[in-house]
């Protein structure tokens, strides 16, 4: 969108104003993330830029809050010190991995079925599979928290268990996998499967040896979406999780509401870094997928 040579002064002014506005909006989008990182290195227990920090005095910076996160506590008596951050991190990773595996498996299978030529009720099925994305999280959390079945006198519910949380996060991650894999399958060349069948491979072998490698970038993309959904998820954890289901977002939530300390910012920085890594991976995979299918960026 370059400015043509014959642009008038008025147009030039408007053009630069417009670029400034865009710049401000983009800054608005990323400003929070930029603020969090330097503040996590503050040496004072309050959440603002101290004069030492602004003058880049080394005394204003410290790794105290990162040390708090791994249980190496500072001597401040008023903060309850614990290894909760590490426990939360571990729980988030474990629940995230299992939920991702389950969501990716189910989502890929569903996407394969939906992408076929003659799927009955495709629209309805697609709506069903996407529905967890539409329903507000608070309603999903409420319905799952209140849900229980009693079979032969034994009460089954999803609350206060790791399995329950994994299933809940699977539900939330499933739509993402379905959407990304269906998108990947849109440009898929059916003749490849037919050629493979022609040469004697059964449907399972065709899937693993022919289809899977080609849609793998899409599948991994969806898996990463599902993982980040589970890793950052807070609403369902609040209502469904018990004392044992301490995930990283839950610990952050407790921190924000109870004992605000820059330890939260340290955790936040780590989350931001994880997000950047995952986002870059997804972006690279997307480009790779496009290259492999012969769709070059125009």
């Amino acid at each position: 969108m370059a400015l043509p040579i014959y642009a008038t002064t008025g147009q030039k002014v408007w053009h630069y104003t417009y670029l400034t506005i865009c710049g401000l909006v983009l800054f608005f989008l990323v400003a929070p993330l930029i603020i969090v990182i330097p503040l996590s290195f503050t040496s004072s227990p309050f959440l603002s830029f101290t004069p030492e920090m602004l003058s880049l005095d080394p005394a204003g910076f410290s790794l105290e809050w990162y040390k708090n996160m791994v249980g190496n506590c500072s001597d401040r008596v008023t903060t309850v010190c614990s290894t909760k951050w590490m426990i939360g991190f571990k729980n988030s990773i474990i629940i995230g991995i299992f939920a991702t595996l389950l969501a990716t498996t189910l989502g890929t299978i569903a996407a394969l079925g939906l992408s076929r030529k003659h799927t009955p009720g495709r629209k309805a099925l697609m709506a069903l599979l996407i529905s967890p994305m539409i329903v507000p999280l608070i309603i999903t959390a409420a319905s799952l928290a209140l849900f229980s079945v009693t079979i032969f006198g034994v009460r089954f519910d999803l609350s206060a268990s790791h399995l329950g949380l994994v299933l809940a996060h699977t539900i939330l991650g499933l739509p993402f996998v379905v959407i990304t894999v269906t998108a990947t399958l849109v440009g898929f060349d059916e003749s490849l499967t037919r050629a493979s069948a022609n040469m004697g491979a059964g449907p399972a072998r065709t899937f693993f040896k022919v289809q899977m490698p080609l849609i793998l970038p899409g599948v991994i993309s969806g898996a990463l979406f599902a993982f980040i959904t589970s890793f950052d998820e807070i609403v369902v954890v609040i209502f469904l999780g018990g004392a044992d289901q301490l995930t990283l977002p839950r610990q952050m939530w407790a921190g924000i509401r109870q004992e605000i300390s820059p330890t939260i910012l340290a955790a936040a920085t780590i989350l931001v870094i994880i997000s950047i890594v995952l986002l870059t991976t997804v972006e690279l995979l997307r480009r790779r997928s496009e290259r492999m299918r012969g769709v070059s960026p125009a």
């Binding site: 909006v25 993330l33 999280l137 608070i138 849900f147 998108a183 209502f239 939530w253 989350l271």
Partner: protein, 423 residues
Amino acid sequence: MTDATLGSSPSAPLVTADGTPLKKSLQRSLRVEKARAFGLVAGPALFLIILFIWPLITLFAKSVDDRLVNDVLPRTMAIYEEWDGETLPEERFFAAMYADLTSAERLQIGKVSTRMNYAKSGWKSLVKKSNKKFKTFDTAGPFMEQMIEADKRWGDVTFWQSLGVMKDRRTAGYYWNALDRTYDSSKNVIMQPENRRVYVMFWQRTLWVSMLVTVSCLILAYPVAYLLATLPLRYSNLLMIAVLMPFWTSLLVRIVAWMIMLQQHGVLNDSLVALGILCDDCRLPLMYNFNGTIIVMTQVLLPFMILPLYSVMRGIPPTYMKAAQNLGATPTRAFIRIYMPQTIPGIGAGVILVFIVAIGYYITPELVGGKDGQMIGNQIAYHLKTSLNWGLASAMGVMLLTAILVLYYVYDKIVGIDNMRLG
């Protein structure tokens, strides 16, 4: 090869190698194909139906469930119909009530008295006080005098009348409560007393906040989407990272960051005061209130507006604008008359998407909303976790869900569910 040659009688049906007619064989293979495709989707679909749709249905069931009073006070409710409803009930009603309250489990008594308190304020304390006094009663009866002596509310007809509202095993009472209405003793719908009316205000505020956020997102997203759509792909991909980054970052991280930036002595206010633009006492109140909710929600939902706009704008050929300018239109006129109308599908998609997501928000208003930035999601959470009025929480949840389904239907008409893309 005599039957299937071209040009021979067209009435002779084609057959496959094993002798079945071709049409039948094709139909059969189509059925097999459909079954296979369906079979693939069936597993995940069943998973969602059992673990997602079914709980939503039980949520709806909870919102109309009113079996508790019948279950905990069976004797009283069994003979309730026989009471005329006007004068004080006779001895046998008191006897039945005494029998029910003394034989029920302590936990159940707590629950039922809470439920009865929703219908008429005062039941909870009445039941609690009475239970303590019941221990000293003469168990042979008569109970009417003893109970009225223990607490004079037992002699108040309105309390007995209020039981009539809780007689049915199903009730629409919670839905009425969610709209600041309640039943009086003859099951008419009346407004709650004025100092108890909050929910209509919350619904209004939720809609208002969502509309404001949607409009702010639209105004901010349009220029950025235009820039991204018209830049060469190399640069736009780079800038797209700035758009997707907040999308991928945890919501709590973004909220904490905004809290630090906008609070009274936060980064923004401190900088403005240090630069002399603001006096120390006139700091901007941008956090823990309505403004905080709007600002944070706008930033969180901006990518949801940018992406649909971007994808539509990318598909608009630049030739239209050039043609319009060629025909004499100023760039502004060309933009407004030619370009903008073509972006309307994107605007529609983005607006509805942001609105749908915004009305269901809970975390953001909870942390930054303060007193006047709270939304209906916060009320649902409060009744779910703290007041334990699950009937009311479910009713509000069902109402919210219905509104969203209607909006989603509209979204589908404009965009189509199949066309959802993720970046």
